[in-house]
């Protein structure tokens, strides 16, 4: 938990919109990134991120401080995971990954950082992992959460997180080292 965050959360729980606004500013980019890497589609990621923060604002009274190690970010990630699961559950037309990527690229002409081929391939390789592996990889290496924080957010033991992390890294390297160009690009 970051400095001053506990007070911000308390103020937000008491209904102070400006406090929730500051929490939004702090976490929204992370949650967006988390969702975007899981759904690979900008507009879907925007809508789901919006829903996450709407739910969080609606249910912030339910957020509980536990000991000194309760993490607001973990709570947000939990909501985000559930939103993504619901999204896939309710989506009537399941697009395959290659189609999603085509749509995605058309929707992101402004995204210059992905001109770096390695980055693009890495992002697409993440989309081939299973949801748990995606969660761990994103939280651990992109958002730099500790295994303990991830274990709280995902409701798994730290040992499980380390095992998932090990498998996911191995799988990513395997995908990236043996990629058939037609699949990845």
């Amino acid at each position: 938990m970051l400095d001053g965050e506990e007070q911000l959360i308390k103020n937000a729980i008491s209904g102070e919109a400006s406090a929730f606004g500051l929490l939004y500013d702090r976490y929204q980019p992370k949650i967006y990134r988390f969702i975007y890497l899981k759904v690979s589609h900008r507009e879907e990621a925007e809508d789901l991120t919006h829903q996450v923060f709407l739910s969080a604002w609606e249910k912030i009274e339910n957020f509980q401080f536990k000991e000194n190690s309760s993490y607001f970010s973990g709570w947000l990630y939990q909501i985000a995971r559930n939103k993504v699961i619901d999204h896939y559950r309710t989506r009537k037309n399941n697009l395959d990954i290659s189609k999603i990527q085509v749509i995605d690229e058309k929707n992101r002409p402004e995204n210059t950082f992905e001109n770096n081929l390695n980055i693009k391939e890495t992002r697409q390789a993440i989309s081939l992992l299973n949801p748990n592996e995606q969660d761990v990889i994103i939280m651990r290496f992109i958002e730099e959460l500790s295994p303990k924080e991830i274990s709280k957010a995902l409701g798994k033991s730290e040992v499980s997180i380390r095992i998932i992390q090990y498998r996911a890294i191995k799988k990513l390297k395997n995908i990236l080292n043996n990629k058939p160009k037609s699949v990845i690009l």
Binding site: A17, R42, K173
Partner: protein, 168 residues
Amino acid sequence: MNDKDLINNLKELRAIEPDAEYSNRSRFLILSLKKDFLKNEKISFYGRLFNNFYLTRLAPSFGIIVTIIAVGYMAFYHLPTQQRRLVAEANEMNAEIQIKLNDIQYYLDNNSEINLSDIATIINLLQKSAEELDEAKNISSDKENIESAIIKIKNAQETLQEINELLK
């Protein structure tokens, strides 16, 4: 690719960021909702948003304008024909605005497919009509400005019609 390269590539994915305009819009929409409205589960999100906006921005203006115009003249039937026509016109527009607001509420309550971009457009239009009604309210107590007030009410009415069309 070794572990180090992979982790470096993963770290570079931090450059993914949401669009700033989207973020501002989403933030505004969420924070503009009062907690009390969020708790009302029977009304859709967009319905609640409208409800909130209606109560805080639109409702305080539109009915008051006609009242100001009418009370300003006190004896309606003793007004010159032209002024009487203006008061009647304001009343008629007031009723039409109420119908349009009811329609908008209905569409928002019953349409869960509206995306953020459409909602942002609707919010902008609502904001515009609220401002037009505010201006009309501010000038309608002055007899000299009655016609300008009527024009502004009419503009607000047309803006609400635009929202109706968008929702349809």
